[in-house]
């Protein structure tokens, strides 16, 4: 065996030393590293210290029984993934059922043959290896999705003329929230925030599609409303049944000093005028990607240098736990925007999240918060 090869390890637990030795001899000959314990507490201590790949556990032991040992192993995050095979009497059906109920993967009846023990150890190690491999593979794919999604989200330093700050947090690897910044011309910038139904892998592909559609359709040729309608028409065709987005598209023209906001079932934009109190820019519109003849809300606002706009997803203002929807939640946050007036626009999203969720509370959903300064 090479120096770097770690043998698979098995913890054998039995109060009878003959049984321990018999299994130890049989398995060690086949290359397994064996740890032994003859009481329940020793077994648990060994499991924690040695992290064996598998545990063979006698049920009927004086003091702490095998059942209690399994239960405690399964209750401990450090040991609950270790497969346990229990050793029990041939006729003891109740014990077998109870062992499975507590989380054991198999049983071996006593008296046992060492070759049967070996065969069961092998098969359960193979299953464990396959399961771990599957978990690693899935985790790796989700990491790739997370990285790909992160790469699709523009950072403020990449778009200095857009003058925005952002906070983005996905609760799961494949986040449902999404934003994009579009340099439409030298003085026209598009800001897009969307929240898609679902948080699965399919959602991340939807994100990529929407980003491509934005790049194709948010151009000086089309008005903001036309851009959203064209994107909607394509999404209606390509999205799977039941999938849709709520979205907000804000188009700021720094030459004409006008902002146009298109709403597609999304929480209202907040405007914080440089001189004046913050207010919700209210308008209604259908969701994106569901209806071929969708109608979107449109509001145009005359803007001044230093005005700020906040576009966000419902995770900022909603709380299922506290039964708060964005229709009531959005309004209640207006004083918070006002209180951060002196904070540089790039830092406002982080500051606002700290203020809202900093004291031990956490968002219950994905959150994206964009602060745009004219």
């Amino acid at each position: 065996m090479g120096k770097n090869i770690q043998p698979y390890s098995v913890l054998v637990v039995d109060d009878n030393r003959v049984n321990l030795k018999l299994i130890e001899k049989s398995l060690s000959k086949e290359g397994y590293q064996i740890h032994t314990a003859d009481t329940g507490p020793d077994a648990r201590a060994s499991a924690l210290e040695n992290r064996p790949d598998l545990i063979l556990l006698d049920i009927e032991m004086p003091g702490e029984s095998g059942f209690e040992v399994i239960k405690k192993l399964k209750d401990n995050a450090a040991t609950n993934a270790i497969p346990v095979i229990f050793l029990t009497g041939v006729s003891d059906v109740d014990a077998k059922l109870k062992g499975f109920d507590l989380g054991a993967v198999d049983y071996i009846t006593k008296p046992f043959h060492p070759q049967e023990v070996l065969a069961r150890v092998r098969i359960h190690l193979k299953l464990s290896i396959a399961t771990n491999s599957l978990i690693q593979s899935q985790a790796g794919k989700l990491r790739q999705v997370t990285e790909a999604q992160a790469a699709m989200l523009p950072q403020p330093d990449e778009f200095p003329g857009a003058r925005f700050g952002v906070y983005y947090k996905a609760l799961e690897a494949a986040g449902g929230d999404f934003y994009d910044i579009l340099n439409i011309s030298e003085n026209i910038t598009g800001y897009f925030v969307a929240d898609s139904s679902g948080h699965d892998i399919e959602t991340s592909y939807m994100t990529a599609s929407v980003k491509a559609l934005l790049a194709q359709n948010c151009t000086p040729v089309y008005s903001p409303l036309e851009s959203m309608k064209m994107i909607n028409d394509v999404l209606v065709e390509i999205l799977p049944p039941g999938k849709y987005l709520t979205a907000c598209y804000m188009h700021i023209n720094r030459s004409t000093m006008q902002a146009t906001i298109i709403q597609a079932g999304h929480p209202p934009v907040v405007c914080l005028p440089v001189k004046g109190e913050p207010y919700l820019v209210l308008t209604e519109g259908d969701i994106l990607g569901m209806f071929p003849d969708a109608g979107f809300g449109k509001v145009s606002v005359n803007i001044s240098r230093g005005d700020r706009f906040f576009i966000y997803s419902d995770g900022l203002v909603e709380s299922a736990d506290n039964k708060v929807t964005w229709t009531s939640g959005a309004d209640s946050l207006l004083p918070v925007y006002n209180s951060l007036r002196q904070v540089p626009f790039k830092d406002v999203p982080e500051a606002m999240i700290s203020q809202l969720f900093g004291n031990g509370c956490h968002p219950e959903d994905d959150v994206v918060l964009l602060c745009v300064e004219v």
Binding site: V18, L22, K25, K110, P114, Q115
Partner: protein
């Protein structure tokens, strides 16, 4: 008692089997002490537990008569019945001594 046959049933060599058989004698003597204590303390549950230990080890090594006797004692103990345990222990002692002589 054919140790070569018992060893081959377990797919072990004779030397390993004899080591296990020696360990069996030691552990079984300990279990029998526990049974004696349980008998004098009129504690059939403890007697059953020690008999269960003997049964498992004897069965695994192929000492079937000892395993059968230990099972009888275990079941009786679980039923709260220590009747005939003196005779059972005498038989067990004889079988264990017989094994010890052969080792």
């Amino acid at each position: 008692m054919d140790f070569d046959d018992l060893a081959s049933r377990l797919e072990m060599d004779r030397e390993d089997f004899l080591e296990l058989a020696g360990l069996f004698v030691t552990t079984t003597q300990g279990d029998m002490d526990k049974i004696r204590q349980a008998m004098s303390g009129l504690n059939p549950a403890d007697a059953a537990s020690a008999a269960h230990s003997i049964k498992g080890a004897a069965g695994n090594l192929g000492f079937e008569k000892m395993a059968d006797l230990a099972q009888t004692m275990e079941f009786q103990g679980k039923d709260g019945n220590l009747d005939g345990f003196d005779a059972h222990m005498e038989d067990m002692e004889k079988m264990l001594q017989g094994l010890q002589v052969l080792l």
